[in-house]
C-alpha cells in the first residue's frame, strides 16, 4: 500500500452501499422511535471510516444495522451483490464476512480463549463440508487448520500463553484484543467496531488501539464508532458525524476536525476535543 495511486484506486471499489437506511423501534403501543432517518453511505474496500457523534445519535444502531444485528425497517444495504436488509437473504452467510467487535467484548464465557477463536471457523467450515456427515479426516483437518490459525493470531498479539485460559481470568484489554482476533479468524472483508475501548481502563486503551491501527495499516476495511478523536483523526480516511439519526457531515478527518461545516458539528467537537 505504499503507492499512493494504488491506494486511491483501491478506495473506489464499493464494498457496502447503503441507501435510505431507516430504523425505528416500537415504544409502547402504536408508537415508534425513529432512530435512523434514511441514511445513504458508501463504504469502499480498504476504507477506514470513523463514526462520531453525540450519545443517542444512532451510531450503534447504524453499525448494528450493517450486519442486521438490528433489522433495518427501511432502505437497502448492498453487500456482495445482495441486499442485507431483505429478510429473505441468508444473513448468516454474510455475517461470516463482516467482523464485529463490541464495547463489552462478549467473549464466550464458557469457552477457553482458543475455543473462542476456533468455534465459529470450525463450526461453519464443518457445516459446509457436510456437518455431522462430514468425513472424519476432513473434520480433523478443519480443526487442525483452525487451531493453527488461532495460535498464529494469538502469537500475533502476544497472548499465546492464554490459549487455555477462560475469559474471566483476563484483563479488559486482553479480552478485547482476543475478541478482535476472534473476528479476524473468520477472515472478514470488513470489520465493525462499536466503541471498542469505551469499557476499558485507561491504561488498556492503547494496546487495543494499537491492534486496530495495525489492521488498518494492513488494509482492512473498517467502520469504527469511537470517542477517541485523536485515533479517528489519525487512522480514518473519512469521518462521519452523526446527529439525530442522520449523517450530518461526512468528510476526511483533517477537514472535519479542523474545519467543520455545520454549527452542530462545531458544537460537538468543541465539547469533546
Amino acid at each position: 500500500m505504499s503507492n499512493q495511486n494504488e491506494m486511491n484506486k483501491e478506495l473506489t471499489e464499493e464494498l457496502i452501499v447503503i441507501k435510505g437506511l431507516s430504523k425505528s423501534f416500537p415504544i409502547g403501543k402504536k408508537k415508534t422511535l425513529n432512530v435512523l432517518n434514511s441514511i445513504d453511505a458508501v463504504i469502499h474496500r480498504g476504507e477506514k471510516i470513523a463514526v462520531i457523534g453525540p450519545s443517542g445519535s444512532g451510531k450503534s444502531t447504524f453499525l448494528r444495522c450493517l450486519n442486521c444485528m438490528e433489522d433495518p425497517t427501511g432502505g437497502s444495504i448492498i453487500f456482495n451483490g445482495e441486499d442485507l436488509a431483505d429478510p429473505k437473504v441468508d444473513i448468516n452467510k454474510h455475517r461470516e464476512h463482516i467482523g464485529m467487535v463490541f464495547q463489552q467484548f462478549n467473549l464466550f464465557n464458557n469457552k477457553t480463549v482458543l475455543q473462542n477463536i476456533m468455534l465459529a471457523p470450525i463450526y461453519l467450515k464443518t457445516k459446509k463440508a457436510g456437518g455431522l456427515f462430514a468425513k472424519r479426516a476432513v473434520k480433523k483437518q478443519i480443526r487442525e487448520e483452525a487451531k493453527e490459525k488461532a495460535m498464529q493470531l494469538l502469537r500475533r498479539i502476544g497472548l499465546e500463553d492464554k490459549a487455555n485460559a477462560y475469559p474471566s481470568t483476563l484483563s479488559g484489554g486482553q479480552k478485547q484484543r482476543i475478541a478482535i482476533i476472534r473476528a479476524l479468524a473468520m477472515e472478514p472483508e470488513v470489520m465493525l467496531f462499536d466503541e471498542p475501548t469505551s469499557a476499558l481502563d485507561p491504561e488498556m486503551v492503547g494496546e487495543v488501539l494499537d491492534l486496530i491501527r495495525q489492521l488498518a495499516n494492513e488494509g482492512m476495511t473498517m467502520v469504527i464508532v469511537t470517542h477517541e478523536m485523536g485515533f479517528a483523526r489519525e487512522v480514518a480516511d473519512r469521518v462521519l458525524f452523526m446527529d439525530g439519526g442522520i449523517i450530518a457531515e461526512d468528510a476526511p478527518p483533517h477537514e472535519l476536525f479542523s474545519n467543520p461545516k455545520l454549527p452542530r458539528t462545531q458544537e460537538f467537537l468543541s465539547k469533546v476535543l
Partner: protein
C-alpha cells in the same frame, strides 16, 4: 415394646427373608429409572420449549410454535401428574391402540410433565445469560440454534443447576404415585411388605429413610456438579 416387636417382624420380612432384594431390584430401581429418564427427557424437551420461547417473534412459525408450547406447558402444569398418568395409561394409549407397559408410560409422562417445569426454569436460565453472548455468536455467522446450543444453554444450565436439582428431587418424590398405573416403585414394594402382616409403620419408616438418603445423595451430587461447572469462573 410394641414397636420393637413390630420392627423385628418387619426386619424378618425385610432382611432375613430377603424382602430388601425386591426393594432394590424393583422399587428403588424403578423409582430411579423413572426419575432419571424423566429428568433427561424433561431437560431435552424443556430446553427446546425454552429456546422457542426466547426466539425473536416477528415471523409466523415462532409465533405458532410459541402458542403450541403455551398450551403444552399449561396442560402439564395445570393438571396433577396422577391425572396425566391415568389419562395416558387407561384412556389415551388404549384408544390409540398402543401398549408400552406401565413403566414406560411412567417414564414418558414424567418426562413430558417435567419438560413443562424445566422449560420455565430453563427460560429463566437463558434470560440470565448476558444477551451479548448470543449477539457475539450471531455476529460471527452462527445461527440461532447453534449459538443457543454451544454458548447460551451451557451457561444457562450452570446458572440453574440448583433449581434443576430441586426439580430432580421433586421428580423422585412424585414417583410415589406410579402404582396408580400398576408400576412398582418404592412405595408399592413397602406397601406389599406391610400387607404381609398388616403392619405398616415399620415398612413406611424404612421407606422414608430410603427416600431421605436418596435425596441427600442427589443434593450432594448436584453440589459437586455445581462446583465442577463453576471452575472456569475463577481466576
Amino acid at each position: 415394646m410394641n414397636f420393637l416387636d413390630e420392627w423385628s417382624a418387619f426386619w424378618r420380612l425385610f432382611y432375613t427373608n430377603g424382602g430388601y432384594k425386591r426393594v432394590f431390584s424393583e422399587g428403588l430401581k424403578n423409582t430411579l429409572t423413572i426419575a432419571i429418564l424423566g429428568l433427561v427427557i424433561g431437560i431435552l424437551i424443556g430446553t427446546l420449549i425454552a429456546a422457542i420461547k426466547v426466539m425473536p417473534k416477528y415471523k409466523t412459525l415462532p409465533k405458532i410454535l410459541n402458542g403450541v408450547c403455551n398450551v403444552y406447558v399449561g396442560f402439564f402444569r395445570g393438571t396433577p401428574i396422577v391425572v396425566q398418568l391415568l389419562l395416558a395409561y387407561y384412556v389415551l394409549f388404549p384408544l390409540m391402540g398402543v401398549s408400552i407397559g406401565s413403566l414406560r408410560t411412567c417414564i414418558l409422562i414424567f418426562g413430558l410433565n417435567s419438560a413443562a417445569y424445566v422449560s420455565e426454569i430453563m427460560r429463566a436460565g437463558i434470560q440470565s445469560v448476558d444477551s451479548g453472548q448470543m449477539e457475539a455468536g450471531r455476529a460471527l455467522g452462527l445461527g440461532f440454534t447453534p449459538t443457543m446450543m454451544k454458548i447460551v444453554v451451557p451457561q444457562a444450565i450452570k446458572n440453574i443447576l440448583p433449581t434443576l436439582g430441586n426439580e430432580f428431587i421433586a421428580l423422585i418424590k412424585d414417583t410415589s404415585v406410579v402404582s396408580f398405573v400398576a408400576a412398582v416403585d418404592l412405595y408399592k414394594v413397602f406397601t406389599e411388605i406391610g400387607n404381609a402382616n398388616y403392619e405398616y409403620l415399620a415398612p413406611y419408616l424404612m421407606m422414608a429413610l430410603i427416600y431421605i438418603v436418596l435425596i441427600m445423595m442427589v443434593t450432594l451430587l448436584f453440589k459437586l456438579l455445581e462446583k465442577r461447572l463453576h471452575r472456569d469462573d475463577r481466576a
